[in-house]
Subunit: 201 residues, 6 copies
């Protein structure tokens, strides 16, 4: 279970509303490689990890992704509060506003609501960890893209923090793969378990 602590893992203090930017960044809330996908991926994958050490990494990172989800939500919230009528009416934000006002709803920048189809949970430790390495790279790329799209230092600052954390997570999952390979007594980099090719009795 989780205990809520009333603070953000990294502070968000945005002075200037910007609904257009909010519509882009929201992909890290509910988009294909966003923080909701990340937290649910790791927190559920941990059940099929046979090694406590790796279960622990998945729990830790999954819990931190919940904190990141909250950071991204705070960014969206602060970018869309204090909007003036002209920031909504006759703007692309109107298509979001009509259904959610300025509420924070987890969807992709494309407007597509979050879907668990983005997440792979295969119940095979090495496969799941490969999924996690890819997931971290995809999230990193999204943050790179966000950084290309805004000059606002109030926004860039937490986004750079989040981006940096994805790199750390990537490293942790790289370590987890090495632990898993050692434990599986299988040095094969390609995670090939030859037992399945044996003829079945």
């Amino acid at each position: 279970m989780w205990i809520y602590e009333k603070k953000l893992e990294y502070p968000v203090k945005i002075k200037n509303p910007n609904s257009k930017l909010a519509q882009v960044i929201i992909s890290q809330l509910g988009g294909p490689d966003g923080e909701l996908a990340a937290s649910m991926r790791y927190l559920h994958q941990r059940y099929s990890s046979p090694y406590g050490e790796i279960t622990g990494i998945l729990t830790d990172v999954g819990t931190e992704e919940l904190a990141h989800l909250e950071i991204v939500a705070a960014i969206i919230y602060q970018l869309t509060r204090n909007l003036k009528e002209d920031d909504v009416k006759d703007t692309p934000f109107a298509t979001y506003f009509v259904d959610h006002t300025t509420g924070v709803y987890p969807l992709a920048a494309s407007g597509v609501p979050f879907d668990m189809k983005y997440v792979g949970i295969k119940g095979d430790l090495l496969t799941d960890l490969n999924e996690d390495l890819a997931a971290e790279q995809k999230a990193r790329t999204t943050y790179d893209n966000i950084l290309r799209l805004t000059d606002d230092p109030d926004v860039r600052d937490p986004i750079k923090f989040l981006r940096q954390r994805e790199l750390v997570h990537y490293q942790r999952f790289g370590e987890a793969i090495r632990i898993a390979q050692d434990k599986l007594d299988c040095k094969n980099f390609y995670a090939y378990n030859p037992s399945f090719d044996k003829p079945k009795k």
Copy 2:
């Protein structure tokens, strides 16, 4: 942010694997009225609450729903561990197993992956609280249905706990509506805000 505490809010100790039952209960993980929907609904709705008291309720309940998500995941995990070949092969569980082995993946009993479309976040306090009352009733009904479908006391016990909590949440959201109506100085039960019908300048 959240701190993980390594214990379940309510203990789950299931002795007998039952993949068929797991496929039904999994709806409370990733189904239309499951715990993932619930936690994401409340944790994101709280940004548009103008009153700290109600924000607090949404944060509390949303955080508890994360704990419930973990309880349901533990139930699924325990119902599908130690399966014998006959519990999978030529059974309906094979259609889950082929894509997730015995990993825990948030989908509905129907096999449809979790989708945020199940969740309403309208950015209007009274509307969101009405959504929450309905959500709790829908979750309650699902737990009722699960109780009709199993005699295993190891499963019924945590399900009854979860069901009971939905009733408590329903009451808390009922109180939140009363708080909101008082604060909005609007006793109108039907949440009608007549200002929008005035001609626009």
Copy 3:
């Protein structure tokens, strides 16, 4: 069965095309809280109502929502007829136009086609009626938002009619809940049926 009467429940006479506005209002056609969702919710929920009086309310309101679906479709149609090339080319409407020309297709303002996932039908009378109260509030909020986004009186007039009807429906579902609670001989506001917590034989 239904008999078609060739008139709108409320007249729609829009003089000025406005593709941008059409893309927003279309959410009440095929969006999460639109009229298609509403009509299908009530017309299907009625099968699990044990009381003819409530079945009748669900049939009446569901049938009226079909009429509202037609009103919203007429609004979309009239806002997108007689468009000039400049109203389409290099505008956000082009992403709709490419796939539907100026046909009327039920999707959300986000561009996501209508999905029944928005609709809850639980087969439990009190739960379904709670869903309906929430649904009416969500539709009401969407109409409020539309009213914030347009000054065109030709559009505002039928939208205000539709919004007003949602309030009436909200009241009717409120009455239906009271009828149901009386009939269930269960004054418990929270719809708690304790029989399910009894140990199963």
Copy 4:
């Protein structure tokens, strides 16, 4: 607008509950080629018909498909009422029951909720009518398949009625295409409008 008349277009009187069969037939409620898809296809396509005669056909057939939707819903309802515990518990119907009890929810036999993606509305009269011919054939095939899957005369009888109506609709859309081609002064069977290939000024 529509007036509800409290009778089915064709009577449904099913004596024997059969949840397994209900799970198959439900595809004609909310499946890819079901009656909900059909009614929404025609009732929305009619806005882009330039000829009142064809608009009338689309309105008539769309309205009749609503009546068929009601017939299929009645079949599902009657097949799932009076179920005994053994008709649900440990059966494939349990995955439906857990989320909808015995309520009637528009989804496909596969368990996937109705999605408007099944429906094409292109805003081009000849294209839309081609879509309609295909739609009627697809619905006809589904009814053929249902007839292969049940011997119950109480079920076969209304299914045969529905299947027969699809053939009639197919003919009406065939006539509509001929009317459209005549009016477009374009005998080309393949609906080729050469004006678009001219160089644009």
Copy 5:
């Protein structure tokens, strides 16, 4: 199996980047009536064709649609390469860019990822061929619409080629229907197979 030949079926040489136009044309990549839908429709329908001649048509056309998929992908690629910062930042393309940079991802102009729900495969030859006629008309309409939305001759030229091929495919499927009807010894234009209405033993 397929052998890749390193050339496009029709050349694409676009000089001027245009991200806005790319976002419209991409519907023919991953939209409801795009080339991915087309190729997968025909290449999978062919398994239920009982006649080698028609299987051959489906294989041929399906394979050509793969080539068209590649042409559309090349158009998207060329329209989005060499973009300057101003072609992305604060433009509608930003919502695509954030998740895919300038990668080519099969989705609809609306932003919705490709979904097989757009495709009908009924396992009934005449029905599938009706689906194919409709599909070709829908693709043709989409190309018509694209031609209305751009003056760039570099883009119009391959689009006109693609549009022309849809007409040819429409004719081929028309011929396939005639072949099928002859072989089925069934002149009935409406594909009615009366055997299914006979009482079942």
Copy 6:
């Protein structure tokens, strides 16, 4: 463009129909980690590869995945031909049969139609290659699971071939990452491009 060669990359000769097994294996047709996802992933990712060598690998592997798609389709076809009435009626296959007869439709074992949401295309070479490594592992796991679910040597044989090819692809993508890292003059295993963290001018 592609040239079709009328032979399978690996022969499929299945003697015994088995609709239940077909419903499991179909996930490698249209499921989250199936061959359709694979081919579309690689064939579209190649547009954002800046190095011809890697573009070539993506084209080769993507083209081979099309061949695998055809192998899986052939397996499904052969497992569902010559079914007797008892293989369909009152079996879980009936829910597939009702909508597709014995046609071959790309969906997951769960019954969910193929969705491009399963596929990541980020327009960043290292990220896309990480996605590909994960994709191959996920497909490998699915084939492992299929091998656990059937003893039929006619089925196991082509499945083992397909599984083996995923391992080869995994190795090829591993090599592609090394090529990319060399060319990017960036030995950092974690694909960290520090340029994005510099303050923007």
